[in-house]
Assembly symmetry: none
Homo-oligomer: 231 residues x 2
Amino acid sequence: MGTDSGLTERQEKILRYIYEFGREWGFPPSIREIGAAVGTPHPSVISHNLKRLEEAGLIEREPRRSRGIRLTEAGRAFLSATPTEMIPPEPPEGLVSIPLLGEIVAGEPIPVPSSDFSLMGADETVELARSIFRDTSDLYALRVRGNSMIDALIHDGDIVIMRHTRRVENGEMAAVWLRDREETTLKRVYWEGRRVRLQPANPSMKPIYIDDPTQVEIQGKVVMVIRRLHG
Amino acid sequence: MGTDSGLTERQEKILRYIYEFGREWGFPPSIREIGAAVGTPHPSVISHNLKRLEEAGLIEREPRRSRGIRLTEAGRAFLSATPTEMIPPEPPEGLVSIPLLGEIVAGEPIPVPSSDFSLMGADETVELARSIFRDTSDLYALRVRGNSMIDALIHDGDIVIMRHTRRVENGEMAAVWLRDREETTLKRVYWEGRRVRLQPANPSMKPIYIDDPTQVEIQGKVVMVIRRLHG
DNA sequence: TATTATACTGAACATCTGTTCTATGTCAAA
DNA sequence: TTTGACATAGAACAGATGTTCAGTATAATA
């Protein structure tokens, strides 16, 4: 037995993972992916617990279909009601609370943890109209520090709204995580055969060429730039 | 070839089915489920067409993962561009609908009627979170045309949110109505004794001096700059 | 103690699923 | 006509995936 919610700690973990996996990837996890996430490689255990979660009405399943897991409203409600630390207050309908995950310095990039893109840990949020975006599930915000991106018409204090996607079109501006350097930087990305060109918007600056595309991890693309002025 | 969209009829069917399947089941379809839906039980055909859809940027895929299909923004846009059009809903509480009153060209200013700042006549609006602003009663929006304000970090297509005030501090950026010229322009305003200096943010451009301050009518000051990028 | 219920472990299986390979048909350009 | 690009068709395969079965462990209960 786990908590007073009637769910095992593992069951709660599973439920939460299903939610977070869906947010990140756009489709539900498989049984074994859940198992790896909660530390049990045995599908029967997950299967058993999924059965319990379904009996509790927190999820729905499509028998014999891969990734046939669906969170019910009750499941979502359960997750918002039992936070791990703090759950941000529900924004009014029509608004999106976009987590402000940190800062980004264009010239001298600072790392942004690539694993933690959940709402947790974001003490600040940016509220925008949901209608502006077609899909708001994978948006986050970064505050720009420094004036190195001045020629991209982005300067100190600006807020950039990012979409957490793994793929960008040629020429789109993206937040790029360079694995070997452990840096994040804002650049326009061009896929040139088997190398990647990271082009600063400033034409006087030379592009960075990455010969190993696996070193380049797209954190997301810039969807919007917001600048607030005097009052 | 199918339509003028560059997509085969089958590819369009596939794209639409991915969307509808996701809406119905909460997870993406498998390749063979797509095949059955579009009348071809051959996975290679679907695989081939999915590759095309991915190249077109309409979907994203996670290689070798079952149901690893995700609609991109472009994909959603494509679908909503074709079928029955949607009716925009009323803005919910917590939002401000800021009237988009027209365009402003920094270099070659165009007139904006100073008398009509009501909501009427504004066919477009910009929706923002009410919490961003102290007071939302006197806000309006203008779309920037042209790149003359490029050194003010404002460029073509940007939306500027204005506060309709008659008075600005020295150095604040304002929309200025020049009575004799019947023009509106975006400039930083400096009150210098009995004349007014309208300073373009571009340092290479000369300021405009207005000797008769009554000719200068402050339309409002720039409160926010919004730039939307790809998707 | 014996019983029952629940959660877990381990293994195996049938099917599903994405991918790859080869071959065919179609249509437009050379 | 030939050529090439492209959509399609069929088959096969390795791995993923959901499911099931037998057995173990632990705790609550009679």
